[in-house]
């Protein structure tokens, strides 16, 4: 079994009209056994920048701690928060530093950049960035997620419709994947507020 499938995960980020949404499943497993049903995969870096980490849970936690450390120092030195594009470049550089002994994570980065323009990107475990204009997905359920998003996505959705779309895409995909699921955790971010919602799906 692949190391990326040890804990199980599912992550989506989607772009809307001057807003974005980022969603994850809540299962933490050790291969076939479910350990937790409230595991946090999405982290806030600052009010307009969120990071989701799929893959090996221990690496996700450590990587998150390192990134928050770097961002806090940046904020102290430069007296401003990082732009999403800058943060993505930094994550990519950090992952490549460990090229021959990598973190077994795939990050999903979502944020609001200058002029409230939504920014999403994903990368592989050694930092190959992939910018997208519509949606990005990672995790054990990624193949189903790609299909669901492709079918359900429309450009320029408002916050409420975006929430519905991303939730449906997430829940229907994790239902086809035994390693992810047990509900969903969705953040919808607009220039004025962050709405956090928990989804109840098939609890298995």
């Amino acid at each position: 079994m692949s190391i990326f499938e040890y804990n199980g995960s599912a992550l989506i980020a989607m772009v809307g009209k001057n807003c974005f949404a980022i969603a994850s499943d809540r299962r933490l497993g050790v291969q076939l056994q479910t350990i937790a049903t409230d595991f946090q995969r999405i982290y806030k870096i600052h009010d307009r920048l969120f990071l989701g980490l799929s893959g090996l849970a221990t690496d996700a936690q450590t990587l998150y701690q390192r990134l928050v450390f770097r961002h806090k120092l940046y904020q102290l030195r430069e007296e401003r928060v990082m732009k999403p594009e800058t943060f993505a470049s930094m994550v990519s550089a950090l992952l490549y530093e460990k090229r021959f002994g990598p973190y077994f994570c795939q990050p999903v980065i979502a944020g609001l950049g200058d002029e409230d323009k939504p920014f999403i990107c994903t990368m592989d475990s050694i930092g190959a960035k992939e910018l997208a204009k519509d949606f990005v997905v990672t995790g054990t359920a990624s193949e189903s997620l790609y299909g669901a998003c492709e079918a359900m996505f429309k450009p320029d959705m408002e916050a409420e419709e975006l929430f519905e779309t991303i939730s449906q895409a997430l829940l229907s995909s994790v239902d086809r994947d035994c390693l992810s699921g047990w509900g969903g955790h969705v953040y919808v971010v607009t220039p004025t507020e962050v709405k956090e919602r928990i989804l109840k799906g098939r609890m298995d």
């Binding site: 030195r77 732009k83 550089a93």
Partner: protein, 235 residues
């Protein structure tokens, strides 16, 4: 400053609380050729005298104003070779920042890094402080900025400043002439007039150097022909 017993080791404080080597470094700066900078509302200009030791020197090969990044330039007063070392280190710092963040380095961050290097050389063994003061001119998201960095590693943001031989006259002149709403062209004229104040001999496009950065955020050194045009406007 007669603490000569304490002027051998630069890492030792003198009883009066000074690091004598830094005082000496500032003296080296003070006897260097005059340089100055002016921050305008829409850009920054830095300028310096370019007095060469002999007419046989090929003046086009001497470049006292250097570009650190496309939107940050620097000029110095003091020891040229020390300046070259600092410029090399700054290039590397700026590129390292860009490699990590894929963003151009903000002016304050680069100034901080240069100042940290200069401070290192006042607290390490077996080295001496840099015999230069720098004027760093840049334009980034925080607008036009002008910073002076001293051999001690302290840095200051200025609206207008001068360093080197004629510093007190130049600063007095700048104080009288400076206005907050100056445009870049006015600033270039003012900088030429300031250099003229203490200039020995006939000023021309070949014995001064001027670097400007405007709202286009591109730092460039003016050609001798462009300087001649500005000189003609000033006459």
């Amino acid at each position: 400053m007669g603490d000569s017993q304490y002027s051998f080791s630069l890492t030792t404080f003198s009883p009066s609380g000074k690091l004598v080597q830094i005082e000496h470094a500032l003296t080296a700066v003070g006897s260097g050729q005059t340089s100055l900078g002016i921050k305008a509302a829409n850009g920054v200009v830095i300028a310096t005298e370019k007095k060469l030791p002999s007419i046989l020197v090929d003046e086009s090969s001497v470049q006292k104003i250097q570009t650190l990044t496309p939107n940050i330039g620097v000029v110095y007063s003091g020891m040229g070779p020390d300046f070259r070392v600092l410029v090399r280190k700054s290039w590397k710092q700026a590129e390292q920042y860009h490699r990590l963040y894929k963003e151009p380095i903000p002016v304050t961050q680069l100034v901080r890094e240069i100042a940290a290097v200069m401070q290192e050389f006042t607290q390490s063994g077996g080295v001496r402080p840099f015999g230069v003061s720098l004027l760093v001119a840049g334009f980034d998201d925080n607008g036009p900025q002008l910073y002076q960095v001293d051999p001690s590693g302290s840095y200051f943001s200025w609206k207008a400043s001068a360093m080197g031989k004629n510093v007190s006259n130049a600063k007095t002149f700048l104080e009288k002439r400076y206005t907050d709403d100056m445009e870049l062209d006015d600033a270039v004229h003012t900088s030429i007039l300031t250099l003229k104040e203490g200039f020995e001999g006939q000023i021309s496009g070949k014995n001064i150097e001027i670097g400007i950065i405007g709202a286009d955020k591109q730092f460039r050194v003016l050609t001798p022909a462009e300087i001649e045009d500005y000189l003609a406007e000033v006459e």
